[in-house]
Structure formats: structure tokens, C-alpha cells
């Protein structure tokens, strides 16, 4: 039995459709239920839905053998997992953005508001630039608008929210897409099952 962690929401729905197409269906998962775990004995899969930012943790701790998670979360959490496949969906980018009229003061650290402190720290360290991190959990765009921060490090999908708030992207840090990850130990003991699913999915990745 392969335990699969899917992220709740649009990305999880898309991934489930991909898995269903290659023969790992478990239709209960799409029903309106309070059940947490969905099993299809015949296909040998057990699905559960988790908060997207927790999927990597479930996989790293072995509660799930495999899971699907955005590259943003993988980089931020530094989870010790195998990253077996780029699913090429859920695409966006990690970027530095700020007010359109922002001019950097090189005599003081940059104030960076972000949900991704590790990503921000690593990025600015690579540029040898000192920063002050302001950790937020959501609505990051407000921080530079209210002058709480100079810039934000955040996910940018279409850029509409930025545009509507007179913000723009200054630098792109890395592209993001959904990845199929595997617990390292599970992979050792369920190599064939996991390789089969990865290989079938790879043929369906656009």
C-alpha cells in the first residue's frame, strides 16, 4: 500500500486527476465528506489531503511515502526527501517585489517581508547583502505599501495583485512548479511501486 499526501485545494485536485488518469483512482476523495483518509485497496493506494505547507513534513516523517508539493515549500523547509518528478503544473515564481518608486538605500539593511525567511536569507546571503527579515503569514503585499518593509520575497503568479497595489517585480529568485517527492526510507522498501507511479506520471507530464 502506497500512502500519498496531496495538497488541499486546486493543485491537489489537478494532481489527483493526473493520478486517476494513470490508474490510481479513489473517487471518495472528490466527495463532500469529512473523512481524512481515502483508500483503494485494489490500486494499492491510500490518499490523504493535507495543508500544502505540511505535505513535505508528512513525507519527510514517513506518514506519506510520496506527496506533491510546490518547489517554494521544498526550498523553504529544506526537507530531506527525494524529488523524483517535476509535474510542470502549479507554475509561478519566487520573486523580490517592491513599490514601483522604491530606491534602495545601500547604507542600511534591506527590510524584507516574507512568508519564506529561509529563501530570503539564502538569496540575500548569495548577494552578500544584509537584511532584516519581517516574517508574515499572508497578505505580504501590504508590508511595502505601508512602508513596513522595503521589499517582499513572495510567490508571484500573474502579478495582478502587485500591479493593483503599485508594486512590481525587481528580481526573480527561482521558478516554481509542483514536485512529486518521496520519503527516502519508503523509497528503499517500495522502490518498484514508487518508480512505476513516477514513470507513468512522467509520460503524462505536459
Amino acid at each position: 500500500m502506497l500512502n500519498i499526501a496531496l495538497p488541499k485545494g486546486r493543485l491537489g485536485d489537478k494532481v489527483y486527476e493526473m493520478l486517476k488518469t494513470i490508474g490510481y483512482e479513489c473517487d471518495d476523495i472528490q466527495s463532500d465528506t469529512r473523512k481524512l483518509i481515502f483508500v483503494n485497496e485494489k490500486c494499492g493506494v491510500k490518499y490523504f489531503l493535507a495543508k500544502p505547507s505540511d505535505v513535505a513534513t508528512y513525507v519527510e516523517y514517513g506518514a506519506a511515502d510520496i506527496g506533491v508539493v510546490g518547489k517554494d515549500i521544498l526550498v523553504e523547509s529544506e526537507s530531506d526527501v527525494y524529488e523524483l518528478l517535476d509535474l510542470n503544473i502549479g507554475k509561478c515564481r519566487m520573486a523580490v517585489a517592491g513599490r514601483n518608486d522604491y530606491v534602495e538605500d545601500i547604507n542600511r539593511p534591506v527590510r524584507v517581508a516574507t512568508k519564506f525567511p529561509n529563501v530570503a536569507r539564502k538569496y540575500y546571503r548569495s548577494k552578500n547583502r544584509e537584511i532584516d527579515i519581517i516574517k508574515l503569514s499572508g497578505s505580504i503585499e501590504i508590508a511595502p505599501v505601508l512602508n513596513m518593509s522595503d521589499v517582499i520575497v513572495d510567490i508571484v503568479e500573474t502579478g495582478t495583485t502587485l500591479k493593483e497595489n503599485d508594486l512590481s517585480v525587481f528580481e526573480e529568485i527561482f521558478p516554481i512548479s509542483a514536485r512529486l517527492i518521496a520519503n527516502k526510507s519508503s523509497y528503499k522498501f517500495k522502490t518498484d511501486e514508487i518508480d512505476t507511479i513516477v514513470s507513468k506520471l512522467r509520460n503524462n507530464v505536459k
Partner: protein, 359 residues
């Protein structure tokens, strides 16, 4: 052996016997060590966070985050003397998930001297024996740092690209490896060889064939020959099928140079055994020797162990009116007959016993 030994104790006794019967001697050290040892070798440690404190003479000390460095600092090994040591120590490291320091129970061994393939095979065998002693299904993955290093040298890959390639190899990410190759302008033939190494089947023989096929340097061919010898040694043993070649096994490239290994036990979510050959670290200590060892992270096994209630052969219940001398005499007599005895005024909850005597 008493029924009341913890699984950790029973496990330790088993592997201690295996280590000692292979000529390894116990190594003991204090809980703390001079901080400078870790400051000088910071990049060898898994975390840069170390608990430090000042001794009464002003010297900066640290609660040890590692045992290998202390063993190397004190080793008496030389060209003619190979030192073989095992240890059971607690190390203190920062847990990246909780952000707090943790005391980690580590058992391991180190072999320092002029090592040859036989020494390496003995260490691999002890690694396999240590995993087998858990009583669970297990896998020991091995590789050699020389494989990827040699390939990257052969194709003259620069340091930045090397780091990126090692990173993607270690997480088995073929897609990211292709992106890195494109970004750094890596030779297509090299990328193909790396992908073939990542695609190598989990079967030892099949993986060895892949290694032979992608080998371009003499040193890669020598590694393949060494792995063929290792295969022959374990082919007709209980370890056949347990030892695998996995070319994604990579550790600190600044210190490890030869065979590298990681062990997994079914049910434990992380590798429980980490080890390898670290001649580059020995060199930093000014010695022209080789060293290889491994550490077992026993705490990773605790979640897969069945927790049993405490058991005594005889539960001796006495009351305030009992003759204490008589209670003690009876308990002593039973113990002399090999029984374990607990004296109590009432039956403790959760205690399992063979016989209850009420006085």
C-alpha cells in the same frame, strides 16, 4: 538476559558483541570538548550551532556535537598501527524542525590507519550486521564519492556547477539536474552519464553494470572493480539483497572521498546509519592516513519498537503489619533462586508479573 533491559540496551549489547568480535575497542570521552576543535572543522558538522560554555580557567568548551573529531584528535594510529574503535555516546545538536537542541544517542565505529579494501569490506559488514540486529527489514546503500567527483573532473566542471550537480544528484532530481546542466552549460555526454547513474536499478548487479558502462576514468573503473569484489564477498551470505548500490548517496564533499554508506530500516522514516571514508578530514589533522566509520542514530529506531510493560517474576505485596525482616528474607531467597522480585504495598498499575505473593 533480563526481560527488563530496554530495546536500546539489548540492541547495544548485540552490536557491541559484533564490534568487539571484530577487534574493535571501546572509546569513551567526556560530554564536553574544547570548542576550538569544532570551530576549526565547522563544515564537517551537520549543524553550525553548538552549545558552548566557559570553564573556570576561561577556556571555551562545547557540549560535543560529534565524536569522530575527538577520536581523530586523539588517535594513535600511524602507518604501522591501525586503530579500530567503537563508541556509544550522546551528542548535542540543533534540531532543524523544533529549533531546539537535542541530545542524540549515537553508536558508531571508526577505523583509522593505512586502510585497504578488506578494511572497507569489514566495516560494510559491521554496518550490515548493525542493521540486521534491529530485527527489521533493512537496506544498506553504498556508493563511492570518487564516482561523481571523477566524472566531474574528467569533464572539467567548475566548482559552482559541481555543487549544484551534487545537490540534485543527492535528491534524485533528474528534472533539476537537466536544468542545472542547461544553466551551467554542462557537457551533454556528462549529463547523460549522470542521469544513467540516477536511473540505475536498485539491484546491485544491474547497478554495477550501469557503473561500468558510464565509467570514463581509470579511477571509476577501479571503483567498479572494488564494488565487484564487495559483491562477491556478500553474494552467498545473509546480506545478499540487503546491500545496494545507490549513486545518489553523497555526503559532505569536503571531507568524504571513498566509499560512502547510508542504512535504512523499514518503518524508520530517516536513514539510521551514516558513514563513509573521510581521508580528507584525517589530512586536516596532519596525518597521511585513511579513516572510515559509521554512526548509528539509535533514536530513529525508537518509534518502530514495541513498548512492553515492565515485568517481574514475583510481586511481593506486604502491609504495614507485615514483619519487614520476613519480607526482606523471602525476597532475598527468591532473588537467590534467580527470580526478579518487586516488593510493594499495592499492585503498581501496568506492572506485569509471573506470581503474586501477599504477606
Amino acid at each position: 538476559m533480563s526481560n527488563n533491559y530496554t530495546w536500546q540496551e539489548k540492541y547495544y549489547f548485540k552490536i557491541r558483541d559484533a564490534f568487539e568480535s571484530s577487534g574493535y575497542k571501546p572509546y569513551r570521552m567526556r560530554k564536553f570538548e574544547e570548542y576550538s576543535l569544532y570551530a576549526d572543522n565547522r563544515s564537517f558538522l551537520t549543524s553550525e550551532y553548538i552549545i558552548t560554555f566557559t570553564d573556570t580557567d576561561g577556556k571555551l568548551l562545547a557540549l560535543k556535537p560529534d565524536v569522530t573529531l575527538s577520536i581523530l584528535k586523539n588517535t594513535k594510529a600511524n602507518e604501522n598501527v591501525t586503530e579500530k574503535l567503537y563508541y556509544k555516546e550522546n551528542v548535542y545538536r540543533l534540531d532543524k524542525h523544533s529549533g531546539e537542541y537535542k541530545e542524540i544517542n549515537q553508536i558508531g565505529l571508526e577505523c583509522i590507519g593505512k586502510l585497504d579494501t578488506l578494511n572497507v569490506i569489514e566495516i560494510i559488514e559491521l554496518g550490515l550486521a548493525s542493521l540486521a540486529a534491529t530485527g527489521k527489514s533493512y537496506i544498506l546503500d553504498i556508493s563511492d564519492m570518487g564516482i561523481i567527483n571523477s566524472l566531474l573532473e574528467y569533464y572539467r566542471v567548475d566548482e559552482l556547477a559541481k555543487t549544484a550537480i551534487f545537490e540534485q544528484m543527492s535528491i534524485k532530481s533528474k528534472d533539476e539536474l537537466n536544468k542545472v546542466a542547461a544553466e551551467y552549460g554542462v557537457n551533454a555526454e556528462l549529463t547523460d552519464r549522470l542521469i544513467r547513474l540516477l536511473n540505475a536499478p536498485s539491484d546491485y548487479d544491474a547497478a554495477l553494470k550501469v557503473l561500468k558502462a558510464v565509467s570514463v576514468t581509470e579511477s571509476m573503473k577501479e571503483i567498479a572493480d572494488k564494488f565487484a569484489i564487495i559483491k562477491d564477498v556478500f553474494d552467498n551470505t545473509e546480506y545478499k539483497g540487503r546491500l545496494k548500490l545507490d549513486f545518489s548517496v553523497i555526503d559532505n564533499t569536503g571531507y568524504y572521498n571513498g566509499v560512502i554508506m547510508q542504512g535504512y530500516v523499514d518503518g524508520a522514516s530517516k536513514a539510521v546509519l551514516h558513514g563513509g571514508q573521510y581521508d580528507k578530514l584525517v589530512e586536516k589533522f596532519g596525518k597521511n592516513l585513511s579513516a572510515m566509520g559509521f554512526a548509528l542514530y539509535v533514536d530513529e529506531l525508537r518509534n518502530i519498537q514495541e513498548v512492553k510493560n515492565e515485568f517481574v517474576d514475583v510481586l511481593l505485596i506486604y502491609s504495614g503489619k507485615s514483619n519487614y525482616k520476613e519480607v526482606l528474607r523471602l525476597a532475598r531467597e527468591l532473588r537467590e533462586n534467580g527470580e526478579s522480585v518487586r516488593t510493594d504495598r499495592s499492585e503498581p498499575s501496568g506492572l506485569l508479573y509471573g506470581q503474586k505473593i501477599i504477606l
